[in-house]
Every structure is written in structure tokens, then in C-alpha cells.
């Protein structure tokens, strides 16, 4: 099985994630789309590690996972507190930090 398909899948997932980040308003969904993009990148990292026959890419993928896990903790906490104060999880309502 050609590695190209993995890369195509990775690109597809990344695009879905990116579009999701751009078009959805619910913070939880945006958050999940970000995760999707991260994992699409993980997939391509692992694929390239396979192609090159080295472990570098896989190590990097672990790092990404660790960072993603930490990010989930912080991100969900932020979303929770926003929801508690504003009774909504729409990211367009949280637009106070501007000019």
C-alpha cells in the first residue's frame, strides 16, 4: 500500500479541521477541529518517518500528542469558565479583546 494515501488522508483531515475552525462558532467544535488538524499533522509525520526509515517523525508525533494533551487541559478549562460567566460557548461572543 502506497504511503501516498496516508498523506492524502492527512491532507483531507487537515483541511476538514481548518475549515471547521473557520466556519464553526461553537467553541467545543472549534476545539475538536484543532485537535483534528493536530492529528492530521501527526499522521503525516508518522508517514514521513516510514518513508525515510527513521524514527524522528514518530518521536515528533509523540511530542505533538503531549502538547495537545496539555492544550486540551488548558483550553477546556478556559471554555468552561467562559461558559460559566456568559452562558454560551460561542466564540464570536467572546470578542472583547479588540481595538
Amino acid at each position: 500500500m502506497s504511503t501516498t494515501y496516508y498523506l492524502l488522508l492527512s491532507a483531507l483531515l487537515f483541511s476538514i479541521g481548518a475549515v471547521g475552525v473557520l466556519v464553526r462558532r461553537n467553541a467545543i467544535v472549534v476545539f475538536m477541529c484543532v485537535e483534528l488538524m493536530l492529528n492530521a499533522v501527526n499522521l503525516s509525520l508518522v508517514t514521513f518517518a516510514r518513508i525515510n526509515g527513521a524514527l524522528d517523525g514518530q518521536v515528533m508525533a509523540f511530542f505533538v500528542m503531549v502538547v495537545a494533551a496539555a492544550e486540551v487541559v488548558v483550553g477546556l478549562a478556559i471554555i468552561m469558565s467562559i461558559f460559566r460567566t456568559r452562558r454560551t460557548a460561542s466564540i464570536d461572543d467572546a470578542n472583547l479583546l479588540k481595538y
Binding site: L22, V23, N95, K98
Partner: protein, 651 residues
């Protein structure tokens, strides 16, 4: 070319020369710093310091007189004033016949005028300040004539300028006095710049400013530089002495108290220009063109002064223009070169006596007439103020060159020397000087007739503040100096020419060469000139008698007068010309520069700031606060970067 005198070191009495200027300086310091405590005795301190300086001057004078002529030039180095690199300036004094002559004139006439001021200023609340500034002036003037280098000269030069400014503006509450002081200061400044440039040129070309060294090395200067130096020195002299084209400040300076007019604007400060040219005569000896310019300036000025003097009704302004004219004579004399330096100084001395006397007389008249200066309101005062009339009359006769009074000796000598020049110069200089002598006789006779003779016009009038006039003779402190100066007006000319002033001055100014005596090269034979001058003067007196003395003098000045009189009343348009040529273009230039500064320079700076501020104000609208729009711009940026990378890799 006259020979350089040998310079000795001042010893004995002459080593006390520093007292000359330190005494009045102390007086000035005490008077100006002591405050109200000195009000009761301060003026006597002022008189005493100047009188003491006069005594010191006399002692040094007699000490010098005892020496043979070739040893009479001495210097006294007090301390090193400052040294910067190769510029070393001594605070040194030069004691030679020229400076000692000036010292005696300044301190002698100065002491008399101080004495007069005690009476004249007795009712003035600012009398202490007045005497302090008068002492300051004497100090500066003595530094000017005593210095042995050009920097000392400049120090004194600026000092007298400052003192003159303070004293012209003495009546601080009068706007006209403030304006006159400012005008005098500004026009002096024009001249001072010339003097400064001349000093710079000397320094740049010779590397020294000591008189001794500069005069010894005149030969090293190239013709152009020498001419530039002489012309710039002349500009300085014109500013200080009220010569054309900088003459307009001197008449306005009459806003100051009358003793100031007598001391500064007749007897001493305005003669500084003549001193400067006499002192720097080694430079002028070497430059024929420079000398010619001096003579031309003098000739123009003596005519201007005499013409305008005929039209004014203000007694002090007539005397002021007379001063302008007489200093023109001195400039003409020193412009004639070795034939005239000593004559210029001679006229300066006699003029110092009679003009100071005339001004003090005018002050005495004003004192009697509620400080009025308009001669049309005077008349018939001779009976009320006999001493003033007698002293003023003697000064008047001396000024118009009545035979065997001072003016006759000094002025006629100048006119003779002028006629003795070759070619057109003899005719022009001599002719103008003779004509001006006639005009002098006219305006002075007019002044005396309007003031002391004729109808008592003041009887029917009241002064501006509503009081009647009660003319009276002045107190003794005022009449005594007038009497002394009148004696000087009568005798100074005869005495000075009898004892040989030119011989005494020879170590400083070179031998007086009398051209044209033996060979009759000049325009007019030598023997004819005195007759001619006396005839012109007599004609002037006669015309004045016919036009002023025989008619009633109207109190209001006639409005419809001929063109020359109108021109003369407006100072021959000197102020208008200054305004049109200098003041107005200056103001326009200023306005243009202010406009350029506001719109151009400030516009550029402020415009940049405004452009940046405005664009940032618009740019910050991009910060919408919507996370998704940031995400979009991040995505767009990333796509662009990746696109660019791909383009580079595959191109």
C-alpha cells in the same frame, strides 16, 4: 609711512595707570550695588572717582612730557587676560601721547559733566543709578583708549555701547527713550560687526592682535586684505561715531538726559571712531583707497549733518546734527592721511570743549524752561540767564569758527588740508567743508537767535504739563562746568596750536605733513582759505539774521515749506531709507522664514506624525476581536508562505 615708535615699559608714575580705569569702575560698582544707602552721597562719589582719575591722568601726562619724544610710547602689561592656543591676549595698557590726550579729555570733560549732573539731576529719583552708569561709561571709554591690543579696544567699544544704551534709555518710563536706546544699540551693533570682522581678519592674517606687532607687520598684508580691514574698521567707526550711513541713531539718542548728550554723544563716545582710525593709522597709511573712503564718508556726513541741522526746532537735535557734522570734519581730516590725523584729533579736542559746553548750556535752558526743547517756544532768554547766555555764546562762536576761538584753529586747518589735496579731491573735499562751515554758521545763529533773542514767546504759553514758564539761572554746580568749558572753547585752540599739539602727537600719529604750503599744489592757494571760510561763515550768520532774526518766529512750525526744508525735517529721509531698504525687507524675510518654518519644517515633521497616526488609527480596525478572523489571516499567511517556498523551490 611714519616710523614705528619704540615701545618702552611704563615705570614710576606711569605704572599707576591702572588706577585710571579702576577708580571709575569702583565708583560704578559701589553706586550700582550699594542700593538706597548710597542715595545721599553717591553722586559725590561719582564725581570724586572721575576727578581722581583726571588727577592720575595729569600726573602720568606730566611724567610722559618730561621724557624725550621717542621714549613717550610706553606699555604696561597688567596680566594675561586669556590664552587659547596661539591666541594670547594681554590685559595691557598703552600709554602714548594719543591715549593720554584722550584720557585727559575723557576724565577732564567727564569730571565737569559729572559735577554739572549733580545739579541737573538733583530732582531725579534715579540719580544714583545715573551716576553709576555714567561712571561705567567713563571706565569703558578709558579701557577703549588705553588698551594695547584690539581685544581690549573691543572690550571698551562694547562697554561704551552698553553704557550708552543704558543712559539713552535712562527715562525708562518713556517709550520714546526706550525706542531710541534700542535704535542706538542696534545701529551700533552693525558697526560692531564690522569692527569684529576687521579684528578677525587681522588675527587670521597676522596671528596677533597687539598693536605693536600688528603695526610692525602691516607690510605682510596683501592689498585686498588690507583694504578689507580698513573698510571694516571704518564701518565700526561709522557705527560708533554716527557717520553716514549709520548716522540716524545719534539724533534720537538725545532722548537721554542732557549731561549724557554732552558727555557721550558730543565729547567722548562718538569720537571713538576718530580714535580708532587715528590709532590704526599705520593700516590707513598703507591703503590709499581706504583713506579715500574715510574722507568721502566724512564729507558726505558733514554735509548731511549741516543741512539737517538747519531745519530742526528741537534745540538738542540741532546740536546733535551739529555733532554729526563736526565728526564728519574729523573723519575727513583723518581720511586725508598723514596730512590730517593730528588735525582730526585737534578738532576732536576743541569740539569736546565747545560742544560739551553747548550741550550743557542747552540743558541749562531746558532746566529753566520746564524741560521743553522746542526753540519756537523760547526767545529773549538772554536777560534771564546771563551766565548760560555768555557761555553758550562763546561755545557758539567757537563752533562757527569765529577768528581766534578754538573752532577757527581746528576747523580751518582741516579745510586747508582738504583744499591742499590734488585734483578733484581738493575741490570736492574743500568745497564741501567750506559750504558746511557756512551752513554751520547759519543753523547755530538761528538757534541762538531763536533761544536768546527776540520776542519772549513763552510768556503767552504754558508748557505741556500746564505750568507757566519761569526762566531762571541754574545753580552753581551747573554754571561752573559751563564756565570752565567756555574758557576751553575760547582758549583751547590757541593754546593747543601754540604748544604744538601735532608735535606732541607725532610719536603716535606720525609727523604732520603739511602738503601744499610751500608748493601751492592744492585747489586753492593756502593763504586764501581762512578768508574764504570766514566769509562763508559770515554769510551764514547774515542769512540767519535776515531770515530768523528780523522776523517774528511763529510758535507753530510752518506746515507749508519748500522741498529742501521738508527733506531736512525728515532727516533727509535717512530713517525712511533705512526702513525701506533694511527694516521692511528684514520683516518680510522674517515673515517668509516664519511661514516656511511653520508650514515647511513643522509641516514635514507634524505631517509625518499625522500620517502615521492616521494610518495606525485605520489599521487597528483590523483587530476585530473575532478569533475566527485571526485564524483566517493565519491560514492565509501560511498559505502565502508555503506558496512562496514552493515557488522558490520549483522556479
Amino acid at each position: 609711512m611714519s616710523e614705528l615708535p619704540e615701545v618702552g615699559v611704563a615705570t614710576g608714575t606711569a605704572s599707576l595707570a591702572w588706577l585710571l580705569f579702576v577708580l571709575p569702575a569702583l565708583g560704578a560698582a559701589v553706586l550700582l550695588l550699594a542700593g538706597r544707602r548710597a542715595n545721599r552721597w553717591g553722586h559725590w562719589l561719582g564725581v570724586a572717582t572721575v576727578a581722581a582719575a583726571f588727577v592720575v591722568g595729569l600726573l602720568i601726562f606730566f611724567d610722559t612730557l618730561a621724557l624725550p619724544p621717542e621714549l613717550r610710547t610706553r606699555e604696561l602689561s597688567l596680566f594675561r587676560w586669556f590664552g587659547v592656543g596661539s591666541l594670547q591676549v594681554d590685559f595691557g595698557l598703552r600709554l602714548d601721547p594719543l591715549s593720554l590726550t584722550f584720557v585727559l579729555l575723557i576724565t577732564g570733560v567727564g569730571a565737569l559733566i559729572h559735577l554739572y549732573s549733580v545739579g541737573y539731576m538733583s530732582h531725579d529719583p534715579g540719580r544714583r543709578r545715573f551716576f553709576g552708569q555714567l561712571n561705567l561709561f567713563i571706565t569703558a571709554m578709558l579701557l577703549l583708549v588705553l588698551g594695547n591690543n584690539f581685544v581690549m579696544l573691543y572690550l571698551g567699544w562694547e562697554g561704551v555701547g552698553l553704557a550708552s544704551y543704558l543712559l539713552i534709555g535712562f527715562y525708562q518710563d518713556r517709550p520714546s527713550a526706550a525706542t531710541a536706546a534700542k535704535k542706538a544699540f542696534l545701529m551700533n551693533r552693525v558697526g560692531d560687526v564690522g569692527l569684529a570682522i576687521a579684528i578677525f581678519l587681522i588675527w587670521a592674517n597676522l596671528g596677533t592682535l597687539q598693536y605693536t606687532e600688528v603695526f610692525a607687520r602691516v607690510g605682510e598684508l596683501s592689498g585686498g586684505v588690507l583694504l578689507a580691514i580698513t573698510l571694516m574698521l571704518l564701518l565700526g567707526a561709522c557705527g560708533k561715531s554716527g557717520q553716514f550711513p549709520l548716522q540716524a541713531w545719534l539724533p534720537d539718542a538725545m532722548e537721554g538726559p542732557t549731561p549724557v548728550s554732552a558727555l557721550i554723544h558730543a565729547a567722548t563716545m562718538v569720537t571713538a571712531g576718530v580714535y580708532l582710525i587715528g590709532r590704526a593709522h599705520f593700516l590707513y597709511d598703507a591703503s590709499v583707497t581706504g583713506r579715500l573712503v574715510v574722507a568721502v564718508i566724512g564729507t558726505i556726513t558733514l554735509l548731511i549733518g549741516a543741512i539737517i541741522g538747519c531745519a530742526y526746532d528741537d534745540i538738542k537735535k540741532v546740536l546733535a546734527y551739529s555733532t554729526v557734522s563736526q565728526i564728519g570734519y574729523m573723519f575727513l581730516a583723518v581720511g586725508l592721511g598723514p596730512a590730517g590725523y593730528a588735525l582730526g584729533i585737534f578738532h576732536l579736542l576743541t569740539h569736546g570743549f565747545f560742544k560739551a559746553g553747548l550741550f550743557l548750556g542747552a540743558g541749562s535752558v531746558m532746566h529753566a524752561m520746564n524741560d521743553d526743547v522746542d526753540m519756537r517756544r523760547f526767545g529773549g532768554l538772554a536777560r534771564f540767564m546771563p551766565i548760560t547766555f555768555a557761555t553758550f555764546g562763546l561755545g557758539y562762536l567757537a563752533l562757527i569758527g569765529f577768528p581766534f576761538l578754538s573752532g577757527y584753529f581746528s576747523k580751518d586747518a582741516i579745510i586747508e588740508a582738504a583744499f591742499a589735496q590734488d585734483g578733484w579731491q581738493g575741490w570736492v573735499f574743500g568745497g564741501a567743508a567750506t559750504l558746511a562751515a557756512g551752513l554751520t554758521a547759519f543753523y547755530m545763529t538761528r538757534l541762538v537767535l531763536m533761544t536768546f533773542f527776540g520776542e519772549r514767546r513763552w510768556e503767552k504759553l504754558t508748557s505741556a504739563d500746564g505750568h507757566d514758564y519761569h526762566p531762571h539761572e541754574s545753580p552753581a554746580t551747573m554754571t561752573l562746568p559751563m564756565i570752565v568749558l567756555a574758557l576751553g572753547s575760547v582758549g583751547a585752540g590757541a593754546v593747543l596750536s601754540a604748544i604744538g599739539l601735532s608735535g606732541w602727537l607725532a610719536p603716535s600719529l606720525g609727523e604732520l605733513t603739511e602738503t601744499g604750503v610751500a608748493e601751492d599744489v592744492g585747489a586753492i592757494p593756502h593763504a586764501v582759505v581762512p578768508w574764504l571760510v570766514v566769509a562763508f561763515s559770515a554769510l551764514g550768520v547774515l542769512i540767519a539774521w535776515l531770515t530768523v532774526g528780523r522776523h517774528r518766529v511763529p510758535v507753530e512750525k510752518p506746515a507749508h515749506v519748500s522741498l529742501p526744508v521738508r527733506a531736512a525735517r525728515r532727516d533727509l529721509y535717512a530713517n525712511a531709507i533705512n526702513e525701506a531698504l533694511i527694516a521692511r525687507p528684514g520683516i518680510w524675510l522674517t515673515r517668509a522664514l516664519v511661514y516656511f518654518d511653520n508650514r515647511g519644517v513643522d509641516g514635514l515633521v507634524n505631517g509625518t506624525a499625522a500620517a502615521l497616526g492616521g494610518s495606525s488609527g485605520r489599521m487597528r480596525r483590523l483587530q476585530t476581536g473575532f478569533v475566527r478572523s485571526y485564524a483566517l489571516s493565519m491560514l492565509g499567511g501560511s498559505v502565502l508562505v508555503i506558496g512562496a517556498l514552493l515557488a522558490v523551490v520549483y522556479a
